[in-house]
C-alpha cells in the first residue's frame, strides 16, 4: 500500500447542492486517498471546492463538478499538480485571507465530526476556562467582549444572560434559535454543518453561566443536511463526555434536544419559537414578560441565535478584550456577513464590523453575477430596507445602519441588478408578511393584505397620490401597532422601495394622475 493522501470535499449544503457528494464518491474510490468531509470555507462561488494536502499544505481546486473529477485525476492533483481549476494553497485565497475569522475559524479547516480535530484547533478550551472560572467570571468576560445578539436584534448578550442568571427558579433553559429564515442568510447553517461542536460548547457555557441544565436547538426543517450533521455531533459529544451527566468529571450536567421547525418564518421570532418548542402553533407572545424571566414552559430562558452562542467559546478562550478589539463604537467583534443573490462571488465573509457595504459587495463579492449594474441591496432579510447604490458607503455598524433607516440584522446581503422592479419587491414584502403572519395582531394580519392591494392600485395608477398617502399611513400603523418585527418591520422594505425607486411605482404606460 502506497502513502495515503488526505483529500477534503465539503459536506455542506451549498457544495452538495452543486454535486459535492458525487465528487466525494468518485474521489473516495481512488487508491490511497483518505477522504475528509469538511465544512465549507465559505467561498460558495468556488464550491464544490476540493482540497488535497501536499506536504502539509492544502491545495484547493474549484469549482469541481462531478464531470471534472476525471481530468483532475489525470493531471495528478494528488501531488498538487497544475490544472485549469487549481486555485493554489487554500491559505492564500484572497477571499479567505482577508477575513477576520473568529466564530468561523475552524469551519472548512476541520472534520466537523472529529473531537480530536476540534480540540486541536482550540475547541473546548473556552469551556474548560469557564468551568474553572465560574458564572460570575463568564459574565464578566462576556460583558467585556461587547457581544450583541447576532440573530438580528443586537441586544447585549451579557445583559440577557445576567437577567437569566439572577432570575429565581430551579429550572432554567438555553434555547438556541437556529430558525434562520431570512433570505440571503446561511451563516447558522454553515456553522452547524462545519463546526457543530462550537455551538454545543457555546450552549454549555451559557448553561454554566446562568444555571441551566437543559438546552434546546430549534432548527428549521428546510435544512435537512444540517439536521443530520447536528444529530451526529450531539451523539459524538455525548459519547465523549461533553454532554450529559457530570461533563468531563465536573459537577456540571447539561443535555441538548434538537427540535425541528415546520416551515413557519415567524417562528424565528423568539416568543413564537418558544411556543413552537412547546408543541404549539407559533403565535407570538406579548412582551413583557421577557423570555429571560418567563420563557420556555414559563421558566427563565436564554434565547440566543446560533452565531451568538458559537462566538462565546472563543471569547472565553482568548478573552473578551481580544474580541472587543474588533469593530468600532458599540458594534464590537465580528459578523459573518453573507453575500447572496445576484453576486459574482457569493458566500460567507466574517469581518470585524466597520467595513463598508461597498467593500463587501465589490471587493469580496466582485459585483453582480449578471455583470449588469447593481441597483438595490437588501440587507438584513425580508424585513430589511432596500438600499440604493448611493448608500453603499455606509459602514457595517448597527448604529450607522440605523441612521440610514436600515438594519444589519443577521448579516444577509442580497444583491439585485438593474433588471429588478422595486414595486414588485415591495409588493412581495407585503405578500410575504400576509403568508407568514402568525395572525395574532391586526396590523400585521390585515395590514399586509391591504398593503398588497394598495401597491397594486398604485402601480395600476388608481388614485395614485391618495393611495401613496394611504400606503404611508398603513405602514405607520404596522410599524407602531404590530406586536413583533414581522408586521413592525415589513414596511421597511416597502417604504425604502418607494423612497429610493419611485419611478418603479409608475404604471407600465407611464401615466401619472
Amino acid at each position: 500500500m502506497g502513502q495515503q493522501t488526505t483529500v477534503y470535499v465539503p459536506r455542506e449544503t451549498a457544495a452538495v447542492s452543486l454535486g459535492a457528494n458525487e465528487v466525494a464518491v468518485k474521489l473516495a474510490a481512488l487508491e490511497n486517498v483518505d477522504l475528509i468531509r469538511n465544512g465549507s470555507w465559505g467561498a460558495s462561488w468556488l464550491e464544490p471546492m476540493v482540497e488535497v494536502e501536499v506536504d502539509g499544505t492544502r491545495i484547493a481546486y474549484g469549482p469541481i463538478t462531478p464531470d471534472d473529477v476525471e481530468s483532475l485525476v489525470d493531471t495528478n492533483f494528488l501531488q498538487g499538480a497544475d490544472h485549469p481549476l487549481r486555485l493554489g494553497p487554500t491559505h492564500e485565497i484572497p477571499y479567505l485571507i482577508d477575513q477576520d475569522r473568529w466564530t468561523f475559524h475552524r469551519v472548512g479547516r476541520i472534520d466537523p465530526l472529529s473531537i480530536d480535530a476540534y480540540t486541536a484547533f482550540g475547541g473546548f478550551s473556552g469551556l474548560k476556562k469557564a468551568l474553572d472560572a465560574g458564572p460570575g467570571a463568564i459574565l464578566n468576560e462576556l460583558r467585556t467582549s461587547g457581544l450583541r445578539g447576532r440573530g438580528g436584534a443586537g441586544f447585549p448578550t451579557a445583559i440577557k444572560w445576567q437577567t437569566v442568571a439572577e432570575a429565581s427558579g430551579e429550572q432554567k433553559y438555553i434555547a438556541c434559535n437556529a430558525d434562520e429564515g431570512d433570505s440571503g442568510t446561511f451563516s447558522d447553517r454553515m456553522l452547524m454543518e462545519g463546526d457543530p461542536l462550537s455551538l454545543i460548547e457555546g450552549m454549555l457555557i451559557a448553561g454554566l453561566a446562568v444555571g441551566a441544565d437543559k438546552g434546546y436547538v430549534y432548527l428549521r426543517s428546510e435544512y435537512p443536511l444540517t439536521r443530520t450533521i447536528f444529530i451526529q455531533a450531539l451523539s459524538l459529544a455525548r459519547k465523549h463526555g461533553w454532554l450529559g451527566q457530570n461533563i468531563q468529571g465536573s459537577d456540571f450536567s447539561f443535555e441538548i434536544d434538537l427540535h425541528l421547525g415546520a416551515g413557519s418564518y415567524v417562528c424565528g421570532e423568539e416568543t413564537a419559537m418558544l411556543e413552537s418548542l412547546e408543541g404549539k402553533a407559533g403565535l407570538i407572545r406579548y412582551k413583557p414578560p421577557l423570555p429571560a424571566l418567563e420563557g420556555l414552559f414559563g421558566k427563565p430562558t436564554v434565547v440566543n441565535n446560533v452565531i451568538t452562542l458559537a462566538s462565546v467559546p472563543g471569547i472565553l478562550a482568548l478573552g473578551g478584550e481580544r474580541y472587543a478589539s474588533y469593530g468600532p463604537g458599540r458594534s464590537k467583534g465580528t459578523l459573518a456577513f453573507q453575500l447572496a443573490g445576484n453576486v459574482k462571488r457569493g458566500g460567507l465573509v466574517e469581518k470585524a464590523f466597520g467595513l463598508t457595504l461597498r467593500e463587501l459587495i465589490e471587493d469580496f463579492g466582485g459585483g453582480t453575477a449578471s455583470g449588469r449594474p447593481l441597483r438595490a441591496v437588501q440587507v438584513g432579510g425580508p424585513l430589511g430596507a432596500y438600499i440604493p447604490e448611493a448608500d453603499l458607503d455606509t459602514p457595517m455598524d448597527y448604529e450607522k445602519f440605523a441612521e440610514i433607516g436600515a438594519m444589519i440584522g443577521h448579516g444577509g446581503i442580497v444583491i439585485f441588478d438593474d433588471t429588478v422592479n422595486m414595486a414588485t419587491q415591495a409588493r412581495f414584502a407585503m405578500e410575504f408578511c400576509a403568508v407568514e403572519s402568525c395572525g395574532k395582531c391586526t396590523p400585521c394580519r390585515i395590514g399586509s393584505v391591504r398593503g398588497v392591494e394598495v401597491i397594486d392600485r398604485i402601480v395600476a395608477n388608481e388614485n395614485r397620490e391618495a393611495n401613496l398617502a394611504l400606503l404611508d399611513d398603513l405602514c405607520d400603523t404596522m410599524v407602531d401597532g404590530s406586536l413583533c418585527a414581522m408586521g413592525g418591520m415589513t414596511p421597511f422594505p416597502v417604504q425604502s422601495a418607494v423612497k429610493h425607486f419611485p419611478t418603479d411605482f409608475l404604471s407600465p404606460d407611464g401615466e401619472n394622475t
Binding site: T13, A14, V16, S17, L18, S44, W45, E47, E180, G181, D182, S183, G184, T185, F186, D188, R189, S221, E222, Y223, P224, L225, H259, L260, G261, A262, G263, S264, Y265, S276, L277, E278, G279, K280, A281, G282, L283, F297, Q338, L339, A340, G341, N342, V343, G346, G347, L348, A369, Q378, P382, G412, V414, I415, F416, D417, Q425, F428, F432, V435, C438
Partner: protein, 156 residues
C-alpha cells in the same frame, strides 16, 4: 403509493415522543415522514392520545406549511420564492416549472407523480436559484438544469 394508516404504528410514533403534548410539532413531523401528510384519522388519534382537543391539533397542523393534509405526489419539488432567488430569476423558473409540469403551485400532477410547492429560503442563497426535490437541495437551477433534474431526480 399511499401508505395505509395504521393505528398501532401511529401509537408507536406518539409513544416515541413519550406521548407528551409539547412534542406535538415533532410528532406531526414523524407522521409526515411516514404518511407524507396528516390525515383526519391521524388528527383524531393524536388528539386522543395527547389528551388534546381535535381543534388544538388541527390548529397546529394548519399553522405550519410542512403539515399538508392531502396526499402529495410521489416526489415533492419546492422552488425557493425568497429574495435572493428572485434576484437570480426564480420567478421565471417557477413559471417554467408550472408550464412544464402543467400544474400550479400547491398542485399535484394528474398521474400523482409530482407536487410543486413554494418554499421561502433554503439557505442556499449564494447559489441561487435553489430548488429542493424531496430532501435534496440543488443550487444554480436554471431552466435547463430544472428540466434535467425533473427527468432524473426524486422518487420518479
Amino acid at each position: 403509493m399511499a401508505i395505509r394508516y395504521d393505528a398501532t404504528i401511529a401509537s408507536e410514533i406518539i409513544n416515541n415522543f413519550d406521548t407528551k403534548p409539547e412534542m406535538l410539532v415533532q410528532i406531526l413531523h414523524a407522521f409526515v415522514a411516514r404518511y407524507a401528510f396528516i390525515s383526519d384519522e391521524a388528527i383524531r388519534q393524536i388528539a386522543d392520545e395527547l389528551n388534546l382537543s381535535r381543534a388544538d391539533v388541527h390548529g397546529v397542523v394548519s399553522f405550519y406549511h410542512d403539515f399538508r393534509t392531502t396526499q402529495p405526489g410521489k416526489r415533492i419539488i419546492k422552488i425557493c420564492q425568497a429574495e435572493a432567488c428572485q434576484a437570480m430569476g426564480s420567478r421565471d423558473l417557477t413559471e417554467h416549472a408550472k408550464k412544464s409540469l402543467g400544474i400550479n403551485l400547491n398542485e399535484t400532477t394528474r398521474d400523482g407523480e409530482t407536487t410543486l410547492e413554494a418554499i421561502y429560503c433554503l439557505g442556499n442563497c449564494a447559489c441561487s436559484p435553489a430548488v429542493m426535490i424531496d430532501d435534496a437541495v440543488y443550487g444554480r437551477v436554471d431552466k435547463r438544469r430544472f428540466d434535467s433534474l425533473t427527468a432524473t431526480a426524486g422518487a420518479k
